[in-house]
């Protein structure tokens, strides 16, 4: 069983205004992404979700998968984006550490980059079963900074 360094609960991305954090939930985990754009907040939320499983920085971007989703509103679009990533992780047995999203209206086109899960190296702590609609929120604060959040079921 490999010992791993503790994973931070959040991480600012230097110079980008983008960051992510976990917020506490008794049974599951809250994930939140911040960014100067809606897309950046979505990308950071995906990093926060990955950090529930392992250190996102320890994932090599060896392979890129395209993702497309469409939803009636931007909040469900966030849930769809995260659940599409959960699906790719589960069926490909991969972890993803880099995310890119482009949002037009009710549609998202994105890509996720990562590598096959390596139990020894990634020492995955928990499996994300899915993104829930609990605490699901996408909004912009008066200073123009976006956040995108929800509870993920582990």
């Amino acid at each position: 069983m490999p010992e791993t360094a503790p994973i931070p609960d959040g991480c600012p991305q230097a110079g980008t205004g983008a960051s992510w954090e976990h917020f506490p939930h008794v049974a599951d985990v809250g994930i939140r992404g911040f960014g100067p754009t809606l897309e950046a907040a979505f990308e950071q939320a995906a990093i926060a979700m990955t950090a529930v499983v392992t250190d996102p920085g320890a994932i090599n971007p060896e392979e890129t998968i395209e993702i497309a989703c469409q939803a009636p509103n931007v909040e469900l679009l966030l849930a769809d984006w995260l659940n599409a990533i959960v699906y790719e992780m589960a069926t490909r047995k991969m972890l993803f550490g880099r995310f890119s999203a482009s949002i037009r209206g009710d549609s998202l086109i994105g890509s996720v980059s990562g590598e096959p899960l390596d139990i020894e190296r990634h020492a995955p702590a928990a499996e994300v079963k899915g993104a829930t609609l609990s605490e699901l929120e996408v909004a912009r604060d008066p200073a123009g900074r976006w956040h995108a959040q929800c509870i993920v079921d582990v």
Binding site: E3, T4, P6, D28, Y87, P124, A125, L133
Partner: protein, 476 residues
């Protein structure tokens, strides 16, 4: 949580009478200290459940209730289809039919101790655990359909387990009315390589010692003897259940207004039972239940094979297999007449009292075994359904200790290596693919399960039979 918002009915029953949009009362079964420890969200979520169309009786929270999504975990609610009753994907949860299965071993602690490290390793290597693990079973689409239709019966016919097992699995191993054809391609794809896998999070496989017997008659009926060891498996429907939950939660949230349902919380997404979507979810959810029953049947078989390497010919008879994330069509007496209702149990176990016709014959005089999972360092319990279980909460009881600390806090407070070493010093062997996972599941992150079972017994939900302490824990 502040108890002042409840009317104290008894030491273990606390009630909020209907007001505003509430259609029925909200009832929490717990002693005051347990309620004070609960998050305010439990009350909020339970009250939200009382607002759903067609709810009957009351919305109930079990003594281990905690903040879930939509329903609280430890939530029970029944809906009448003839009164516009709804079915809720959030009321079942993502891990459809997650549950517990316990086998008797007939071995004593000293037998296990002689091979403790070796059997821990063998179980860890032979039962796929943790994220990314895959089973050796690969299902074709046709086999998947058969598995979703026939559950543990399918697994048995494929050579996993023994005929006698089925009598001791809820629904005899197969819930009727599954519709594999409504289970999506994506849900099937997530399950293709996950049959016979334990999963991660709070799922586990444990060898436990019976430390105390509290009800001699029930223990005798269940085959539990003080000092003997049992094998317990806690897991669910894996990726298939998670994907069904994800898809239907979304669809129900989007279509609720079209069904005339005003949701107090988006995660309470639901659909009328008598609607196309409601019926489709029931068919998919029942397929998910069968998937979980098949999965635990396979894992039980894999564990038996490991035990037989150490003790050739050992039988490991199944004591019982019961789920705690389900919705089932059941007959209950409500307001003086028998009615068929859909009972949601989210993080709550069915708890049938003595004499119920669906019990195995051997248990008919003592009631249904109820398994209460603790933490890997403390204790678990076997309880049994009581005659009062039916009127208390549609024959339901609690399912676990319940967390008292978030994963985020737990991993800051403990290091996995230290937790494993501390438990080893107490004679408990832990195997897990992740130290961080162990830290997040540290015993201190859970409530005191003994308070929970005490409250469950006092409230008439289920009666204490035996206390189990962990010896080996394989953690996903």
């Amino acid at each position: 949580m502040d108890t002042s918002q409840f009317r104290k009915v008894s030491e273990t029953a606390w009630k909020i009478e209907p007001s505003g949009r509430m259609r029925v009362p909200a009832v929490i079964y717990a002693v005051e200290p347990l309620i004070r420890d609960m998050d305010d969200k439990v009350r909020e979520q339970l009250v939200n459940v009382t607002m759903l169309p067609g709810i009957v009786g009351a919305a109930y929270a079990m003594p281990d209730a905690h903040w879930g999504y939509g329903f609280p975990i430890g939530g029970v609610a029944a809906f009448d289809p003839d009164q516009g009753g709804v079915i809720s994907a959030g009321g079942v949860g993502f891990d459809i039919s997650c549950g517990v299965r316990t086998h008797l071993t007939g071995l004593i602690r000293a037998d296990i101790k002689r091979v403790q490290t070796k059997i821990a390793d063998a179980l860890f290597h032979n039962v796929p655990v943790g994220i990314g693990s895959t089973g050796k079973i690969r299902l074709s689409d046709g086999q998947m359909t058969a598995m979703l239709r026939d559950g543990a019966v399918w697994a048995l016919n494929k050579g996993y387990g023994e005929q006698r097992d089925l009598e001791f699995v809820e629904e005899h191993g197969r819930v009727a009315g599954a519709q594999p054809e409504v289970v999506s391609e994506k849900a099937r794809a997530r399950q293709t390589r996950e049959m016979g896998t334990l999963g991660s999070g709070n799922h586990y496989l444990e060898i436990q010692e019976v430390a105390e017997i509290h009800d001699a008659a029930a223990a005798r009926a269940f085959g539990l003897d003080q000092g003997q060891c049992v094998l317990t498996i806690h897991c669910g429907s894996r990726g298939l259940g998670h994907q069904i939950g994800t898809e239907f939660l979304r669809e129900m949230a989007i279509t609720a207004p079209a069904h005339g349902i005003s949701l107090p919380d988006r995660d309470l997404a639901c659909a009328p039972i008598n609607s196309e979507l409601g019926r489709r979810y029931i068919g998919a959810m029942r397929s998910g239940i069968n998937c979980a029953l098949a999965n635990r049947q396979i894992i039980g078989h894999l564990a038996r094979k490991v035990f037989r390497r150490f003790w050739p010919g050992i039988e490991l008879p199944l004591m019982y297999d019961v789920s705690h994330n389900t919705c089932k069509l059941e007959t209950h007496e409500i307001e003086g007449r028998a009615r068929e209702v859909y009972v949601h149990r989210k993080g709550a176990t069915r708890s049938l009292g003595p004499g119920d016709p669906s019990l195995p014959e051997a248990y008919s005089e003592v009631g249904q075994p109820v398994f209460i999972g603790g933490s890997m360092g403390t204790e678990s319990w076997v309880l049994t359904g009581m005659p009062t279980s039916e009127t208390a909460a549609f024959s339901s009881a609690c399912h676990g200790a319940g967390r008292r600390m978030s994963r985020t806090k737990a991993r800051k407070k403990w290091r996995g290596r230290q937790v494993i070493d501390d438990l080893a010093a107490r004679g408990i062997t832990i195997r897990s693919p992740s130290h961080r996972g162990v830290a997040e599941e540290a015993p201190g992150a859970y409530k005191d399960v003994s308070e929970v079972v005490e409250a469950a017994e006092q409230a008439g939900l289920a009666k204490k039979v035996a206390r189990l302490i962990p010896v080996v824990c394989v953690k996903g």
